[in-house]
């Protein structure tokens, strides 16, 4: 047998043996949307007069982009979706107090080997548990909601191997930025990246979710971690459920491959205005910072707040600092472990379960000329607010260290 994880998942989902380049119709195991795209999905269904749902149990809806609503139109959008959810009797609905869609998908729903389609580009996040997960626009998601199927092109498989163990201040973001800096944002277009972790416990699910999340920034069709003992343990811990692992065949053929030695990675940042404008944090250490954001579907998980609290405990922030765990579960765990208290004592503003300032909507929109260090996924011009703001992307260690000093800071350089 020579199937990659991509080929095995898409062969099952399409009912035939697939190869890269094939155009297929795949069955979808989960179809999801959030508030900011969900109303558009419903509009498309209404306009076509096709108010049908293929399987209510397989639809997931979460409010995150506009949670809690920053203005009247946002409240109206959420109200319309609530009405739809009620009329259609959708069981998997998560209002403003539960979490960011992609975080909820990996905590509660996504399984190895599934095909997941959602109306948000960061749907690649569910690749962390070994699902083939793609973001799509409102029309394509509406079609999947109705039929339980989607058309897609089978991508070229590319293998990444993670060797060794990351250093104390290194996490998933540094791996994602390493790939972006090395290959640039267009290289993986039309490919699915399959990541093999040689030492599964050295690269836990939080880190994996960050890398899969950033798969869309690499323009990859999917970024999946090959399921292993960490996948099994994570799902068992979060849901009390034993899962079957789907893995590539031993003779799987990849179009190319690349190895990252985790021990050698340094804390990285992506400088404005591109995700692939990657530098070491030390190279940018003279840049003064106005605001730090620790959160988002990219880096809003327990380990991110553990790292942030370790750095900020007993200190006072020298920038504005906004900290937003990505779900109620993450928030509650961070609270029980004392991380939230440490951050609040340091002067951070804390809430949970919203995308917050990531897309410039609310909770800390960037002003003209401001410099932001953010653990989110995009530093495009205007992304977090003003076109004249500058966003540096980093992992939680650089973000927290920068909040502590007021300058972009490699955590190894903290006194």
């Amino acid at each position: 047998m020579t199937g990659t994880l991509t080929e095995k998942i898409l062969s099952r989902a399409s009912g035939k043996t697939v190869s890269p380049g094939d155009v297929i119709e795949a069955k979808t195991d989960i179809v999801a949307f959030h508030d900011l795209t969900g109303y558009h999905v419903i509009e498309v269904m209404e306009k076509a007069n096709m108010m049908k749902i293929f399987d209510k149990a397989k639809i997931v809806v979460a409010f995150d982009h506009l949670a809690p609503p920053p203005d009247v139109r946002s409240a109206e959008i959420q109200g319309n979706i609530r009405k739809f959810v009620k009329e259609m009797k959708l069981p998997n609905f998560h209002d403003i107090n539960v979490g960011i869609l992609h975080e909820l998908l990996i905590e509660q729903y996504a399984l190895p080997g599934q095909v997941i389609v959602a109306a948000d580009s960061h749907t690649t996040t569910s690749g962390a548990v070994g699902a083939f997960a793609q973001g799509m626009g409102a029309s394509d998601v509406a079609a999947a909601v109705i039929t339980g199927k989607t058309w897609l092109v089978v991508p070229q498989p590319f293998k990444v191997t993670l060797k060794g163990s990351p250093g104390k201040w290194i996490n998933g973001k540094d791996v994602a930025l390493e790939l972006l800096g090395k290959f640039k944002a267009d290289y993986f277009n039309g490919m699915s990246i399959e990541v093999h972790v040689e030492n599964p416990k050295a690269f836990p699910m939080d880190y994996r979710a960050t890398v899969s999340n950033m798969g869309i920034e690499m323009n990859a069709d999917a970024l999946m971690f090959i399921p292993d003992v960490e996948t099994k343990d994570y799902i068992k811990t979060m849901r009390g459920k034993e899962v079957e692992l789907v893995t590539p065949d031993s003779g799987a053929k990849y179009s190319d491959e690349y190895t990252i030695e985790l021990d050698k990675l340094e804390p990285l940042v992506a400088a404005p205005y591109s995700v692939d404008n990657v530098k070491t944090a030390r190279e940018e250490s003279k840049v003064p910072v106005d605001q730090v954001y620790i959160g988002s579907c990219t880096n809003g998980r327990l380990s991110d707040f553990r790292i942030a609290s370790e750095i900020l405990k007993g200190k006072k922030v020298k920038t504005r600092c906004i900290a937003i765990p990505s779900s109620y579960t993450m928030f509650k765990q961070a609270m029980e472990l004392g991380y939230i208290e440490d951050l609040v004592n340091a002067g951070c503003v804390v809430t949970y379960g919203t995308c917050g300032p990531c897309l410039g909507g609310h909770f800390g929109v960037a002003g003209p000329g401001e410099v932001i260090v953010s653990t989110s996924s995009r530093n495009f011009r205007g992304r977090m607010g003003s076109n004249e703001a500058k966003v540096y992307l980093s992992g939680p260690s650089v973000a927290a260290a920068s909040a502590a000093t007021g300058y972009i800071t490699d955590p190894r350089d903290l006194q």
């Binding site: 155009v23 900011l36 795209t37 558009h40 509009e43 498309v44 269904m45 306009k47 076509a48 096709m50 506009l66 139109r73 946002s74 959008i77 109306a119 948000d120 580009s121 749907t123 793609q134 973001g135 799509m136 626009g137 409102a138 029309s139 394509d140 509406a142 079609a143 109705i146 039929t147 058309w151 944002a185 267009d186 277009n189 039309g190 869309i216 920034e217 323009n219 069709d221 591109s274 897309l359 410039g360 909507g361 995009r378 495009f380 011009r381 205007g382 992304r383 076109n387």
Partner: protein, 161 residues
Amino acid sequence: MMVEGPVLKYGDKIDTDIIIPARHLKYTDPAYLAQHAMEPLDPEFYKKASKGVVIVAGKVFGMGSSREQAAIALKAAGVKAVIAESFARIFYRNCINNGLPLIVLPNATREINEGDVVKINVETGEITVNGRVLKGKGITGMALDILKSGGIMEYLKKVSA
């Protein structure tokens, strides 16, 4: 399917936050979105595009978010087609669903200049410009069927009828 128009030219990695900033995503009205197309790069874009234009750009045009408003805004502003060296996957699908043809042409930004008038065969991918014919990758197969149907929902109605 033939499309013709003067070229507005851009570089690599034109992302969806450039094409339509997130603050406009609470609406889907094409006329509203058109006025804000490409706003961060060029607030006058909708005026320039209103007579019908073809965008020529570099790599991964449309990278970033899944917002279908990116396709809606460009089309409503007057963009008749986009020729780029490569496209982001989600944006490509959104354009197919909203009747905006896309042609992949390696070296597009070297072969075509701002202000050139291009004539495009959407299916064969042939682009006629300054008396030369460039061979791009047109829209074929299922994507073409969806484009011709007027989007995925109309396509579904057709195939299930």
